[in-house]
Amino acid sequence: MVVVQCVEQGVVQRNSQVNQDSLAMVILSPRIAAMARPGQFVMVACSKTGQSPLLRRPLSIHAVDGDCLTLLYRVVGQGTELLANMNVNNSLSILGPLGMGFAIAERKHHCLVGGGIGIAPLLFLARAIRRAQPDSQITLLAGARSDLELLVIEKFQPGVEVLIATDDGSEGHHGFVTELLAEITGDVEVYTCGPTPMMKGVAAIARKHSWGCQVSLESHMACGMGACLGCAVERSGVHEGADKYVHVCKDGPVFKAGEIWA
């Protein structure tokens, strides 16, 4: 697959709070929007080039609407804070689209499992599945600590069945999102993004049922394009030499679960 990227000066169209600590930013970025596929990400310069923070920040592509990208991000540190302070018509440098996205499997049932901000890449994916396989069933299992944290789930509807789990029971199932998988059966492909323990749990259940399972990983990144080797993650199984690790930015961020966890 030929991966094509560019650096584009995006223009903020909207930057609005979706809950206490997360925002959705809509950016006019026609070249990247035209190339993007679900599961890919961009590297965003949160400050003017050369100023603090130095490195770009990796963010998944949450949605593509025409010439615009939407990013859904949680404010956790200096970079995301600068993003949160951006206003309409501000411009920012975006590098992308990067990485290998989700592969839409030939399945009857697509089960998307998101934990917290891990829901970000799943909207773009849900829409792409709907388009590619209008007759397949799509279920979103969305997990959060409380209902305040449930992000943008209404955007998935209609067309996607949504099941919710919260740690405190304030909405949906009281418990882990992985527990919702008990209700799923059949010819299933699971796509998951969220905290590592959650994804590991999802992968274990998928393996038990012989479902396909694709996981979207995170790793600290410098270049985002396979040059620095900074974003290494260990592969499952015994691999020698330079094959011991895969690189999230280039080989991923989406991997077959079995490639990472035995």
């Binding site: 080039t49 603090s52 985002g224 394009m225 040059a227 620095c228 080797l229 330079a242």
Partner: protein
């Protein structure tokens, strides 16, 4: 006719003095959407060892103020795989390719030079002597003048290509090492490699890098790099290639004025993947506007 940007490094003539730094530019191909590598003075590829190396466990990078720490651990597929799978691609790129080599022993370095010798795609060798000498209890080759000289001689004995020795800044007096490798026959020196640094996650009380320590690069180290380039340019008669935090045309000019006859762009590639070719253009424009030749600029600092 445009301005002449070419520079001579040993027997090698570079189109211009802008190179990319090892480990920050992959094997060139990663940057092909952004840079035509044939436009650059040279690209220096990621360090190659005799046998494949897995590299360090993650996390391998962490951001710091105006810089970053990396502990990639010299991950690479080994010389064999490099020749088989990277050389054909590099041939296509039509770039001047310098191969960065690293080893655990003097013999490793000699072996790498010997293996690269027949390859026309390889224009030069950059010898990374920041690695620990396994046989000598892990003291870095780059910190002991005699060891640095031995590595240099071993590579020169097995290579007719231009040999650049890349110096570590983690030493008391870098001019002593520079002189040692110059006397041992190095065609040029490049500096600096990364400064050794560390960062700790306060919540977990663990180092932020799995390897505990890592190499500091980026704008933060530029003043140290510039000082060392200036000192080494006074100390040796071979070309000096400046590296360390170079991001802007102004940075390039500072290093040239300090005495570097070429520069390498490292961390800045991560922030702006097109920066290296932008700097070639910027330098050309500067020289044109200021009606100044490259030779006028290099080493022109007045103290």
């Amino acid at each position: 006719m445009g301005i002449d940007l070419s520079v001579q490094i040993g027997s090698l003539q570079l189109k211009n003095p802008i190179m990319t730094a090892s480990g920050t530019f992959g094997y060139g191909e990663e940057f092909s959407p952004f840079v035509d590598c044939a436009d650059l003075g040279a690209i220096v590829v990621k360090g190659i060892s005799v046998t494949p190396r897995p590299g360090n466990p993650p996390p391998r990078i962490v951001e710091t103020e105006a810089g970053m720490l990396n502990a990639i651990g010299l991950q690479n597929g080994g010389i064999e795989r490099f020749i088989d799978s990277k050389i054909p691609m590099l041939r296509e790129l039509d770039a001047t390719v310098i191969v960065n080599i690293l080893g655990d022993s003097v013999e490793d370095y000699a072996e790498l030079a010997r293996r690269l010798e027949p390859l026309p795609e390889v224009a030069g060798i950059e010898v990374n002597i920041s690695c620990p000498n396994v046989k000598k209890g892990g003291v870095a080759f780059g910190t002991v003048p005699e060891m640095a000289a031995r590595v240099t001689r071993a590579v020169k004995d097995h290579s007719s290509k231009t040999v650049i020795v890349k110096l570590s800044p983690n030493v008391t007096d870098i001019t002593v090492i520079a002189r040692a490798v110059a006397e041992a026959g190095a065609d040029a020196v490049s500096l600096i490699n990364t400064l050794i640094g560390m960062a700790i996650d306060v919540d977990s009380r663990r180092p932020k890098l799995a390897n505990v320590i890592g190499g500091l690069s980026g704008p933060a180290i530029k003043p140290v790099a510039l000082r060392m380039v200036y000192q080494v340019a006074q100390a040796v008669n071979i070309p000096v290639i400046g590296i360390g935090g170079i991001t802007s045309l102004n940075d390039v000019l500072e290093f040239l004025i300090a005495g570097a006859c070429a520069v390498q762009i490292g961390t800045a590639n991560f922030i702006n993947p097109a920066v290296s070719s932008e700097l070639v253009l910027g330098l050309e424009q500067y020289l044109t506007t200021h009606q100044c030749s490259l030779a006028d600029l290099i080493g022109s600092v007045r103290v």
